[in-house]
């Protein structure tokens, strides 16, 4: 009964959002600029990489994924601590010892239903954190996960400034602080096993596969149950596309997801300025040299004129 009312509610919400989401995804489908076509190429490159799919309509909020993540990554929290209280309902819930978090959302109109969101690293195709890291401490492996290497990290926290999903966390109270975030259990994936959270999910709300497979699966689900889902795969285009895709029955911003994210890779925002460096340096050298040359000529001419005048004056005096 609870499930029934929940579903009817989700259908209503989904219908309301369908028009909006449909409009935005059709706009994103046709590449109009070079950035768009570049992102298409990027997405093509990522299609064979490991990816994850979260289906909010299948999630019952049991938080087995949080427990499994806590155990697998030795995050040091007791099950009581994992389950205690419900704090922030957005990316704030993540911490140096919380790599993933299931947010819980209810609406006054229908307090008997709830919906859930999953906060964690989105493993972007071209991550802002990776392109901002000065020393490649963060990097995207060719298999898909975005991982951190503590032997290189300076702790400059530029990745935290750059990440549009507010994901990387810093150990503020440590003498030897680390950048902490989900690494998609890259070690397990390398052994052919799914990430800990996916393996722990009892309702198959979480799935792994290649990005292309999961994107097709997400579209298939929306097509099969169009009234159940918001017609939008969160992560298909957000920030240039991510390896973690989300489906939901409510508008994503109501589930704690950041909305209105640009559909281009964040690296595009610094790309022009970085590309200008050699032009600026060589151009400036030529300009400085030219100015110096002109200044020299001017002083030479002035000195010669002065010398000539003096010579004239002297000879005039002799005469």
């Amino acid at each position: 009964m609870n499930a029934l009312s929940r579903r009817t509610f989700l259908v209503r919400g989904g219908c309301a959002a369908a028009g909006l989401a449909g409009a935005s995804s059709s706009a994103a489908a046709t590449p109009r600029t070079t950035e768009d076509s570049r992102d298409e190429t990027l997405a093509a490159g990522a299609s064979g990489q490991h990816a994850m799919l979260f289906d909010s309509t299948l999630c019952v909020g049991c938080r087995a994924c949080e427990l499994a993540c806590n155990k697998k990554n030795d995050l040091g929290r007791t099950p009581e601590e994992v389950f205690r209280g419900r704090g922030a309902q957005d990316a704030r819930a993540l911490g140096p010892d919380v790599f993933t978090y299931v947010t819980f959302h209810q609406w006054e109109a229908d307090p008997t239903t709830a919906a859930f969101g999953k906060m964690q690293c989105m493993h972007c195709i071209e991550p802002a954190c990776v392109s901002s890291c000065p020393v490649n401490a963060l990097h995207k492996t060719s298999e898909g996960p975005v991982v951190w290497d503590g032997s290189k990290c300076l702790g400059c926290r530029y990745c935290m400034m750059a990440c549009p999903f507010v994901v990387p966390r810093f150990e503020w109270d440590s003498r030897n602080p680390r950048i902490r975030k989900c690494d998609m259990c890259a070690d397990l994936l390398a052994e052919g096993q799914p990430p800990a959270c996916v393996a722990a999910c009892p309702t198959k709300a979480l799935r792994t596969g290649t990005r292309a497979e999961l994107l097709a699966e997400a579209r298939r689900r929306i097509a099969a149950r169009p009234r159940r889902y918001v017609h939008h795969v969160y992560g298909e285009h957000e920030a240039g596309g991510t390896n973690f895709l989300h489906l939901a029955g409510r508008p994503f911003e109501e589930l704690g997801y950041r909305r209105n994210l640009p559909l281009r890779s964040y690296r595009d925002y610094t790309r022009p300025a970085m590309a200008a460096i050699p032009y600026a340096m060589v151009g400036l050298t030529v300009i400085l040299g030219g100015v110096r040359w002109v200044v020299e000529r001017r002083t030479d001419v002035a000195r010669r004129a002065r010398a000539a005048r003096q010579a004239h004056d002297t000879s005039g005096g002799e005469r």
Partner: protein, 444 residues
């Protein structure tokens, strides 16, 4: 040189105060390394950068711009009469950069890995560019300041060796820098070719050398500075936390223009301050000439700043939200005040006129940079960041140590030149090097 030794000057009230503030800062820094950044800052995962990035990095580096601007004016643009102002400006810049590196290692979570920036290259990262600019420009500043030390201790062989070999080192450094930023051999060759051609023309006597300062060293200082000042703006292009009054794709250009704008103002501030503190007579004529140039620089910056906002259609943002609005209007008001003060000859003639106008310019820049790093940042999920008092005290402490270092340096080194030392390439009254070292003055 008959500069009173620092050791013989009594510890004045000002020096004592600086020492106390410096000690407080150092104590808090020790506590920060023992207990972590969270203990002394209000930074959070939503606001990972704050007061230190704003003041120590963005403002600090901009205020050091006097070094490259004055060096360029004197040695490249023919402004030989400004020579007495160049040395203090270079010293200010060198101390500024050393302080900045120290302050940065307090802000970095894992400063012991700082050398990784030199070996683990990510040439798409603006922070990578920043780290290389800091390293290379500090080195260039040290080379620019080196002759002062050579003069003080009479190291003529070293001085000659420095003069001869610096251009080659510079060509190598700049080429390495371009390679790290682009990974493109073609650009490396273009860069090396341009600098190499210039040096060759100077050695052949087609273009003139400077008797005291290798021209390529000055050029490299300008190149690295330009890149550094603008790359600090590039840093913020990738973040979506910055509000529309500050975020613009031309932030790198704005940062460069405001750095050039603040350079003469800092020279005026620094000259009038040291005139009072170390009883060095400021050069009123030269400072007035700088002051007359200031309105053009400030107005250029303001035009770009405001027309960019018009172009992006965000002018009305300047009326929305309390603190961003106040901060934006404060910046504009300070800079307009500075223009008015600098442009009025009667005010420039008053003893307080130039310093007041210069301070207005400096504060205008401080407001813009802190707008980018603190006030303009907005992460709706998180409570707003307000600096912790310890953050402010640490910055105050580091600046105090810098002022003390400047005080000691001007006391023991020939930073303020006497008239006997004033030489221009046209009239080499006291050539620091034997004649055979010099290229032909003019072959035309």
């Amino acid at each position: 040189m008959t500069v009173p030794s620092f050791l013989r000057t009594p510890v004045t009230r000002g020096v004592g105060m600086l020492a106390v503030l410096g000690a407080i800062g150092l104590g808090l820094i020790a506590y920060r390394f023992a207990a972590g950044l969270g203990a002394v800052t209000n930074l959070s995962d939503g606001y990972p950068w704050g007061f230190w990035i704003g003041m120590d990095v963005l403002v600090g580096i901009a205020l050091a711009a006097g070094g490259f601007v004055m060096a360029g004016v004197v040695h490249l643009f023919g402004g030989h009469r400004f020579h007495p102002l160049a040395r203090p400006a270079v010293l200010t810049a060198l101390l500024g950069y050393l302080l900045f590196i120290f302050a940065l290692s307090v802000d970095l979570g894992r400063p012991w890995n700082i050398w990784q920036a030199l070996i683990s290259w990510n040439h798409v990262s603006p922070m990578f560019e920043v780290s290389w600019c800091v390293t290379f420009y500090t080195f260039v500043l040290a080379l620019e300041f080196a002759p002062v030390v050579f003069e003080r201790f009479g190291w003529r062989t070293l001085h000659r060796w420095w003069f001869q070999s610096t251009p080659f080192a510079i060509i190598g450094f700049v080429m390495l820098f371009v390679f790290a930023m682009t990974g493109s051999p073609a650009w490396v060759l273009a860069m090396g070719g341009a600098l190499g051609l210039w040096e060759t023309l100077m050695r052949l006597g087609v273009m003139r050398r400077d008797h005291q300062m290798p021209i390529l060293l000055i050029t490299a200082g300008i190149l690295f500075s330009t890149m550094h000042q603008s790359s600090l703006g590039t840093l913020f292009l990738i973040t979506d936390k910055l509000g529309p009054l500050w975020y613009t794709p031309i932030l790198p250009l704005l940062f460069f223009l405001s750095a050039v704008m603040v350079a003469p103002a800092m020279v005026i501030v620094e000259a009038t301050l040291s005139a009072r503190v170390v009883r060095h007579k400021a050069e009123p004529g030269l400072l007035d000439a700088l002051g007359r140039a200031m309105p053009y620089l400030i107005v250029t910056y303001l035009l770009v700043r405001v027309s960019d906002m018009l172009g992006r259609g965000v002018v009305l943002e300047a009326m929305r939200g309390f603190w961003p609005t106040v901060w934006w209007w404060l910046e504009i008001a300070l800079l307009l005040t500075a223009v008015a003060l600098f442009a009025t000859a009667e005010i420039r003639r008053r003893p307080w006129g130039l310093p007041l106008a210069a301070w207005a310019t400096v504060l205008g820049l401080v407001v813009h940079r802190t707008g980018v790093a603190v006030v303009g940042l907005d992460v709706p999920e998180y409570p707003r960041y307000v600096p912790h008092v310890a953050e402010v005290l640490i910055t105050v402490g580091i600046v105090s140590l810098g002022l003390l270092a400047f005080r000691i340096a001007v006391a023991v080194l020939p930073v303020y030149e006497t008239h006997a030392m004033l030489t221009s390439p046209d009239v080499p009254t006291v050539p620091p090097l034997p004649q055979r070292e010099l290229a032909p003055v003019s072959s035309a």
